[in-house]
Protein backbone atom coordinates (compact mmCIF):
# COMPACT_ATOMS: atom_id res chain seq x y z
CA UNK A 1 0.00 0.00 0.00
CA UNK A 2 1.35 3.45 -0.86
CA UNK A 3 2.25 6.08 1.72
CA UNK A 4 -0.61 8.23 0.46
CA UNK A 5 -3.16 5.44 0.93
CA UNK A 6 -1.84 4.77 4.41
CA UNK A 7 -2.02 8.47 5.26
CA UNK A 8 -5.67 8.54 4.19
CA UNK A 9 -6.34 5.64 6.53
CA UNK A 10 -4.46 7.33 9.35
CA UNK A 11 -6.71 10.34 8.85
CA UNK A 12 -9.60 7.95 9.49
CA UNK A 13 -7.89 6.84 12.73
CA UNK A 14 -6.60 3.52 11.44
CA UNK A 15 -3.92 2.50 13.94
CA UNK A 16 -2.63 -0.30 11.73
CA UNK A 17 -1.97 2.12 8.90
CA UNK A 18 -0.24 4.41 11.37
CA UNK A 19 1.97 1.51 12.48
CA UNK A 20 2.94 0.91 8.84
CA UNK A 21 3.92 4.53 8.35
CA UNK A 22 5.79 4.39 11.63
CA UNK A 23 7.82 1.44 10.36
CA UNK A 24 8.64 3.29 7.15
CA UNK A 25 9.51 6.69 8.56
CA UNK A 26 10.44 6.45 12.24
CA UNK A 27 13.99 5.12 11.62
CA UNK A 28 14.76 8.18 9.49
CA UNK A 29 13.30 10.60 12.00
CA UNK A 30 15.10 8.90 14.87
CA UNK A 31 18.50 8.96 13.15
CA UNK A 32 18.06 12.64 12.32
CA UNK A 33 16.94 13.44 15.87
CA UNK A 34 19.73 11.41 17.47
CA UNK A 35 22.41 13.26 15.51
CA UNK A 36 20.86 16.69 15.88
CA UNK A 37 19.52 16.53 19.44
CA UNK A 38 21.43 13.67 21.01
CA UNK A 39 20.26 10.15 21.63
CA UNK A 40 18.62 11.01 24.95
CA UNK A 41 16.17 13.44 23.36
CA UNK A 42 15.73 11.54 20.13
CA UNK A 43 13.06 9.13 21.36
CA UNK A 44 10.88 11.91 22.68
CA UNK A 45 11.33 13.95 19.49
CA UNK A 46 10.55 10.97 17.27
CA UNK A 47 7.43 10.20 19.27
CA UNK A 48 6.28 13.81 18.95
CA UNK A 49 6.84 13.88 15.18
CA UNK A 50 4.91 10.64 14.70
CA UNK A 51 2.08 11.83 16.92
CA UNK A 52 1.87 14.97 14.84
CA UNK A 53 1.33 12.70 11.86
CA UNK A 54 -1.43 10.93 13.80
CA UNK A 55 -3.07 14.23 14.75
CA UNK A 56 -2.69 15.98 11.42
CA UNK A 57 -2.98 13.28 8.77
CA UNK A 58 -6.31 14.78 7.69
CA UNK A 59 -4.42 17.87 6.54
CA UNK A 60 -2.41 15.88 4.02
CA UNK A 61 -3.90 16.30 0.54
CA UNK A 62 -2.65 13.74 -1.97
CA UNK A 63 -3.86 15.96 -4.84
CA UNK A 64 -1.25 18.53 -3.86
CA UNK A 65 1.74 16.22 -3.64
CA UNK A 66 3.14 12.99 -2.34
CA UNK A 67 3.29 12.03 1.30
CA UNK A 68 7.05 12.06 1.91
CA UNK A 69 7.69 15.80 1.40
CA UNK A 70 4.66 16.64 3.51
CA UNK A 71 5.81 14.37 6.30
CA UNK A 72 9.41 15.53 6.20
CA UNK A 73 8.26 19.15 6.39
CA UNK A 74 6.37 18.24 9.58
CA UNK A 75 9.40 16.38 10.93
CA UNK A 76 11.85 19.11 9.99
CA UNK A 77 9.80 21.83 11.68
CA UNK A 78 9.52 19.83 14.89
CA UNK A 79 13.16 18.75 15.05
CA UNK A 80 14.50 22.15 14.15
CA UNK A 81 12.24 23.84 16.70
CA UNK A 82 13.80 21.58 19.33
CA UNK A 83 17.31 22.13 17.97
CA UNK A 84 16.89 25.89 18.34
CA UNK A 85 17.10 25.43 22.09
CA UNK A 86 20.74 24.54 21.52
CA UNK A 87 23.51 26.96 20.62
CA UNK A 88 24.36 27.68 17.01
CA UNK A 89 27.76 26.08 17.55
CA UNK A 90 26.15 22.88 18.80
CA UNK A 91 23.91 22.76 15.74
CA UNK A 92 26.80 23.38 13.37
CA UNK A 93 28.88 20.65 15.04
CA UNK A 94 25.99 18.16 14.97
CA UNK A 95 25.23 18.91 11.33
CA UNK A 96 28.90 18.71 10.32
CA UNK A 97 28.97 15.27 11.90
CA UNK A 98 25.95 14.27 9.78
CA UNK A 99 27.69 15.54 6.68
CA UNK A 100 30.86 13.64 7.53
CA UNK A 101 28.85 10.47 8.05
CA UNK A 102 26.96 10.86 4.79
CA UNK A 103 29.75 11.85 2.50
CA UNK A 104 32.96 10.41 3.89
CA UNK A 105 31.57 6.90 3.76
CA UNK A 106 29.65 7.42 0.55
CA UNK A 107 32.89 8.38 -1.10
CA UNK A 108 34.68 5.16 -0.16
CA UNK A 109 34.66 2.13 -2.33
CA UNK A 110 34.42 -0.54 0.32
CA UNK A 111 31.74 -3.16 0.18
CA UNK A 112 29.74 -1.79 3.05
CA UNK A 113 29.59 1.71 1.59
CA UNK A 114 28.52 0.34 -1.77
CA UNK A 115 25.79 -1.67 -0.14
CA UNK A 116 24.60 1.34 1.81
CA UNK A 117 24.64 3.55 -1.26
CA UNK A 118 22.30 1.12 -2.97
CA UNK A 119 19.96 1.24 -0.03
CA UNK A 120 19.09 4.85 0.33
CA UNK A 121 19.37 8.29 -1.17
CA UNK A 122 21.90 7.06 -3.69
CA UNK A 123 21.11 9.45 -6.51
CA UNK A 124 20.81 12.37 -4.20
CA UNK A 125 24.08 11.59 -2.46
CA UNK A 126 25.83 11.19 -5.77
CA UNK A 127 24.44 14.50 -6.96
CA UNK A 128 25.45 16.21 -3.74
CA UNK A 129 28.84 14.53 -3.99
CA UNK A 130 29.51 16.39 -7.22
CA UNK A 131 29.09 19.76 -5.49
CA UNK A 132 32.07 21.65 -4.06
CA UNK A 133 32.36 20.76 -0.37
CA UNK A 134 31.45 24.25 0.86
CA UNK A 135 28.32 24.41 -1.31
CA UNK A 136 27.21 21.02 -0.09
CA UNK A 137 27.87 22.03 3.49
CA UNK A 138 25.48 25.01 3.40
CA UNK A 139 22.68 22.76 2.15
CA UNK A 140 23.29 20.15 4.83
CA UNK A 141 23.51 22.81 7.56
CA UNK A 142 20.26 24.36 6.37
CA UNK A 143 18.37 21.10 5.90
CA UNK A 144 19.37 19.06 8.92
CA UNK A 145 20.22 21.86 11.33
CA UNK A 146 17.63 24.41 10.24
CA UNK A 147 20.27 27.11 10.20
CA UNK A 148 19.44 30.32 8.38
CA UNK A 149 21.95 31.78 5.97
CA UNK A 150 22.92 34.39 8.56
CA UNK A 151 23.47 31.65 11.15
CA UNK A 152 25.55 29.63 8.71
CA UNK A 153 27.62 32.72 7.93
CA UNK A 154 28.28 33.35 11.62
CA UNK A 155 28.71 29.68 12.48
CA UNK A 156 31.24 29.04 9.74
CA UNK A 157 32.92 32.48 9.81
CA UNK A 158 31.94 33.06 6.20
CA UNK A 159 30.62 36.33 4.72
CA UNK A 160 26.81 36.25 4.37
CA UNK A 161 27.05 37.09 0.66
CA UNK A 162 29.26 34.06 0.12
CA UNK A 163 26.80 31.81 1.96
CA UNK A 164 23.92 33.13 -0.16
CA UNK A 165 25.88 32.55 -3.34
CA UNK A 166 26.87 29.03 -2.31
CA UNK A 167 23.26 28.19 -1.45
CA UNK A 168 21.96 29.51 -4.75
CA UNK A 169 24.60 27.70 -6.79
CA UNK A 170 24.25 24.48 -4.81
CA UNK A 171 20.47 24.36 -5.30
CA UNK A 172 20.75 25.12 -9.00
CA UNK A 173 23.41 22.46 -9.56
CA UNK A 174 21.52 19.93 -7.49
CA UNK A 175 18.32 20.49 -9.47
CA UNK A 176 20.22 20.14 -12.71
CA UNK A 177 21.99 16.99 -11.54
CA UNK A 178 18.77 15.36 -10.34
CA UNK A 179 16.97 16.31 -13.58
CA UNK A 180 19.86 14.74 -15.49
CA UNK A 181 19.79 11.51 -13.52
CA UNK A 182 15.99 11.33 -13.80
CA UNK A 183 16.30 11.83 -17.55
CA UNK A 184 19.01 9.18 -17.78
CA UNK A 185 16.89 6.81 -15.72
CA UNK A 186 13.91 7.42 -17.96
CA UNK A 187 15.93 6.97 -21.11
Amino acid sequence: MSDEELAARVAARDLEAFASLYDRYAPRVFAWAAHLLGRDDAEDATQEVLLRLWDRADRFDARRGTFAPWFFAVARHELIARAKKRTREQRVLATDEIERLLFDRAGTADTEASAIARVAGDELLQALGTLPVQQRRVLVLAYFGGLSQSEIARGTSTPLGTVKKRTRLALAKLRAALRGSAGAGAG
Binding site: F30, E43, Q47, Y143
Partner: protein, 200 residues
Amino acid sequence: MERVNDRDAELLDGLPDALAARSPHALPPALRARVLAAAAARPLARKGTLWPLAAAAVAALIALVAWNVQLQQALAQDRSLLAQLRDAANGQETVFEIVDAPNTTKLMLRAPAPGPAAPYAKVYWRPDQTHVVAMAGRLPALAAGGTYELWLDQRRIGVIAPDENGFGYLVFDTGSRGASYRTGRVLVQPGGSVVVSGER
Protein backbone atom coordinates in the same frame (compact mmCIF):
# COMPACT_ATOMS: atom_id res chain seq x y z
CA MET B 1 16.04 33.03 0.85
CA GLU B 2 17.12 33.25 4.49
CA ARG B 3 16.09 29.72 5.48
CA VAL B 4 15.75 26.67 3.29
CA ASN B 5 12.07 26.60 2.40
CA ASP B 6 9.89 23.52 2.11
CA ARG B 7 10.14 23.49 -1.68
CA ASP B 8 13.94 23.53 -1.64
CA ALA B 9 13.96 21.10 1.26
CA GLU B 10 11.99 18.63 -0.87
CA LEU B 11 15.07 18.25 -3.05
CA LEU B 12 16.94 16.97 -0.01
CA ASP B 13 14.24 14.76 1.47
CA GLY B 14 16.21 11.66 0.52
CA LEU B 15 18.90 12.60 3.04
CA PRO B 16 17.17 11.34 6.23
CA ASP B 17 16.87 7.96 4.52
CA ALA B 18 20.56 7.98 3.66
CA LEU B 19 21.42 9.10 7.17
CA ALA B 20 19.34 6.34 8.76
CA ALA B 21 21.16 3.79 6.60
CA ARG B 22 24.56 5.04 7.77
CA SER B 23 23.84 6.14 11.33
CA PRO B 24 24.98 4.09 14.32
CA HIS B 25 21.77 5.25 16.07
CA ALA B 26 19.23 2.52 15.48
CA LEU B 27 15.58 3.07 16.33
CA PRO B 28 14.89 1.52 19.78
CA PRO B 29 12.40 -1.34 19.25
CA ALA B 30 10.43 -0.42 22.40
CA LEU B 31 9.56 2.99 21.00
CA ARG B 32 7.08 1.53 18.52
CA ALA B 33 4.73 0.18 21.17
CA ARG B 34 4.98 3.42 23.12
CA VAL B 35 4.12 5.62 20.14
CA LEU B 36 1.23 3.40 19.07
CA ALA B 37 -0.15 3.38 22.61
CA ALA B 38 0.18 7.16 22.83
CA ALA B 39 -1.62 7.54 19.50
CA ALA B 40 -4.43 5.22 20.56
CA ALA B 41 -4.88 7.19 23.77
CA ARG B 42 -4.78 10.53 21.98
CA PRO B 43 -8.03 12.49 22.12
CA LEU B 44 -9.60 13.26 18.79
CA ALA B 45 -8.45 16.66 17.54
CA ARG B 46 -10.47 17.10 14.40
CA LYS B 47 -11.46 20.37 12.77
CA GLY B 48 -15.07 20.00 13.88
CA THR B 49 -14.20 19.45 17.50
CA LEU B 50 -11.99 22.51 17.51
CA TRP B 51 -14.92 24.85 16.90
CA PRO B 52 -15.97 25.07 20.55
CA LEU B 53 -12.38 25.85 21.49
CA ALA B 54 -12.13 28.49 18.78
CA ALA B 55 -15.45 30.01 19.84
CA ALA B 56 -14.30 30.09 23.46
CA ALA B 57 -11.05 31.74 22.41
CA VAL B 58 -12.94 34.41 20.43
CA ALA B 59 -15.31 35.02 23.36
CA ALA B 60 -12.34 35.34 25.72
CA LEU B 61 -10.71 37.78 23.33
CA ILE B 62 -13.84 39.91 23.13
CA ALA B 63 -14.15 39.88 26.92
CA LEU B 64 -10.51 40.87 27.21
CA VAL B 65 -10.95 43.79 24.80
CA ALA B 66 -14.09 44.94 26.64
CA TRP B 67 -12.32 44.68 29.97
CA ASN B 68 -9.39 46.65 28.59
CA VAL B 69 -11.71 49.40 27.32
CA GLN B 70 -13.37 49.54 30.74
CA LEU B 71 -10.00 49.66 32.42
CA GLN B 72 -8.83 52.48 30.17
CA GLN B 73 -12.04 54.42 30.89
CA ALA B 74 -11.59 53.91 34.62
CA LEU B 75 -7.95 55.00 34.44
CA ALA B 76 -8.86 58.07 32.40
CA GLN B 77 -11.58 58.86 34.91
CA ASP B 78 -9.08 58.50 37.77
CA ARG B 79 -6.53 60.70 36.04
CA SER B 80 -9.13 63.35 35.30
CA LEU B 81 -10.48 63.30 38.85
CA LEU B 82 -7.01 63.52 40.39
CA ALA B 83 -6.03 66.35 38.06
CA GLN B 84 -9.11 68.31 39.07
CA LEU B 85 -8.42 67.55 42.72
CA ARG B 86 -4.83 68.75 42.31
CA ASP B 87 -6.14 72.07 40.97
CA ALA B 88 -8.88 72.42 43.53
CA ALA B 89 -6.91 71.32 46.59
CA ASN B 90 -3.76 73.15 45.71
CA GLY B 91 -1.55 73.24 48.79
CA GLN B 92 -3.54 70.79 50.89
CA GLU B 93 -0.93 68.12 51.44
CA THR B 94 -3.31 66.04 53.56
CA VAL B 95 -5.48 65.39 50.54
CA PHE B 96 -2.66 63.82 48.56
CA GLU B 97 -1.29 61.91 51.51
CA ILE B 98 -4.63 60.15 51.71
CA VAL B 99 -5.47 59.78 48.04
CA ASP B 100 -2.04 58.71 46.88
CA ALA B 101 -0.81 56.25 49.51
CA PRO B 102 -0.21 52.51 49.21
CA ASN B 103 -2.46 51.74 52.21
CA THR B 104 -5.38 53.85 51.02
CA THR B 105 -8.80 52.23 50.77
CA LYS B 106 -11.07 53.46 48.00
CA LEU B 107 -14.85 53.26 47.81
CA MET B 108 -16.28 53.85 44.34
CA LEU B 109 -19.74 55.39 44.05
CA ARG B 110 -21.52 55.02 40.71
CA ALA B 111 -24.65 56.42 39.12
CA PRO B 112 -27.70 54.11 38.93
CA ALA B 113 -27.40 54.28 35.11
CA PRO B 114 -23.65 54.30 34.36
CA GLY B 115 -22.37 55.84 31.14
CA PRO B 116 -19.64 58.08 29.79
CA ALA B 117 -21.43 61.23 31.05
CA ALA B 118 -22.79 59.77 34.31
CA PRO B 119 -21.69 61.30 37.62
CA TYR B 120 -19.41 59.34 39.92
CA ALA B 121 -17.60 59.79 43.20
CA LYS B 122 -14.81 58.23 45.21
CA VAL B 123 -14.08 58.16 48.90
CA TYR B 124 -10.53 57.60 50.23
CA TRP B 125 -9.27 56.84 53.70
CA ARG B 126 -6.20 55.46 55.42
CA PRO B 127 -6.04 53.43 58.62
CA ASP B 128 -3.24 55.62 59.96
CA GLN B 129 -4.91 58.98 59.25
CA THR B 130 -7.91 60.70 60.79
CA HIS B 131 -8.91 62.53 57.59
CA VAL B 132 -11.15 61.17 54.85
CA VAL B 133 -11.31 62.57 51.30
CA ALA B 134 -14.32 62.37 49.01
CA MET B 135 -14.47 63.71 45.49
CA ALA B 136 -17.13 63.66 42.82
CA GLY B 137 -17.16 64.38 39.11
CA ARG B 138 -19.75 65.19 36.43
CA LEU B 139 -22.28 66.32 39.00
CA PRO B 140 -25.10 68.12 37.16
CA ALA B 141 -25.78 71.73 38.05
CA LEU B 142 -28.57 71.99 40.62
CA ALA B 143 -31.47 74.38 40.86
CA ALA B 144 -31.07 77.24 43.28
CA GLY B 145 -31.14 75.98 46.87
CA GLY B 146 -30.15 72.46 45.96
CA THR B 147 -27.10 70.73 47.50
CA TYR B 148 -25.19 67.48 47.17
CA GLU B 149 -24.76 65.57 50.42
CA LEU B 150 -22.30 62.80 51.14
CA TRP B 151 -23.50 59.95 53.33
CA LEU B 152 -21.27 57.15 54.56
CA ASP B 153 -22.77 54.13 56.35
CA GLN B 154 -26.11 55.93 56.84
CA ARG B 155 -24.40 58.93 58.38
CA ARG B 156 -24.49 62.37 56.84
CA ILE B 157 -20.90 63.55 56.40
CA GLY B 158 -21.25 66.93 54.71
CA VAL B 159 -21.92 68.85 51.52
CA ILE B 160 -20.01 68.56 48.28
CA ALA B 161 -20.12 71.81 46.37
CA PRO B 162 -19.28 71.20 42.70
CA ASP B 163 -17.58 73.80 40.51
CA GLU B 164 -18.78 74.79 37.05
CA ASN B 165 -17.32 71.52 35.65
CA GLY B 166 -19.32 69.39 38.06
CA PHE B 167 -16.27 68.56 40.16
CA GLY B 168 -16.30 68.86 43.95
CA TYR B 169 -14.49 67.42 46.91
CA LEU B 170 -14.81 67.19 50.63
CA VAL B 171 -12.17 66.59 53.30
CA PHE B 172 -13.35 65.79 56.78
CA ASP B 173 -11.74 64.82 60.05
CA THR B 174 -13.19 61.74 61.73
CA GLY B 175 -11.37 62.56 64.97
CA SER B 176 -9.72 59.18 65.29
CA ARG B 177 -7.62 56.79 63.19
CA GLY B 178 -8.98 53.57 61.74
CA ALA B 179 -12.22 54.85 60.25
CA SER B 180 -13.69 52.51 57.66
CA TYR B 181 -16.88 52.54 55.62
CA ARG B 182 -18.91 49.91 53.88
CA THR B 183 -21.43 51.99 51.93
CA GLY B 184 -21.60 55.48 50.51
CA ARG B 185 -24.10 57.70 48.71
CA VAL B 186 -24.36 61.20 47.34
CA LEU B 187 -27.89 62.58 47.59
CA VAL B 188 -29.54 65.67 46.23
CA GLN B 189 -31.25 67.79 48.85
CA PRO B 190 -34.01 68.65 49.15
CA GLY B 191 -35.65 65.44 48.01
CA GLY B 192 -32.96 62.91 48.88
CA SER B 193 -32.68 61.36 45.43
CA VAL B 194 -29.54 59.22 45.03
CA VAL B 195 -27.03 60.53 42.46
CA VAL B 196 -24.30 57.95 43.05
CA SER B 197 -23.90 55.07 45.46
CA GLY B 198 -21.59 52.15 46.14
CA GLU B 199 -20.69 49.38 48.51
CA ARG B 200 -17.44 47.58 49.38
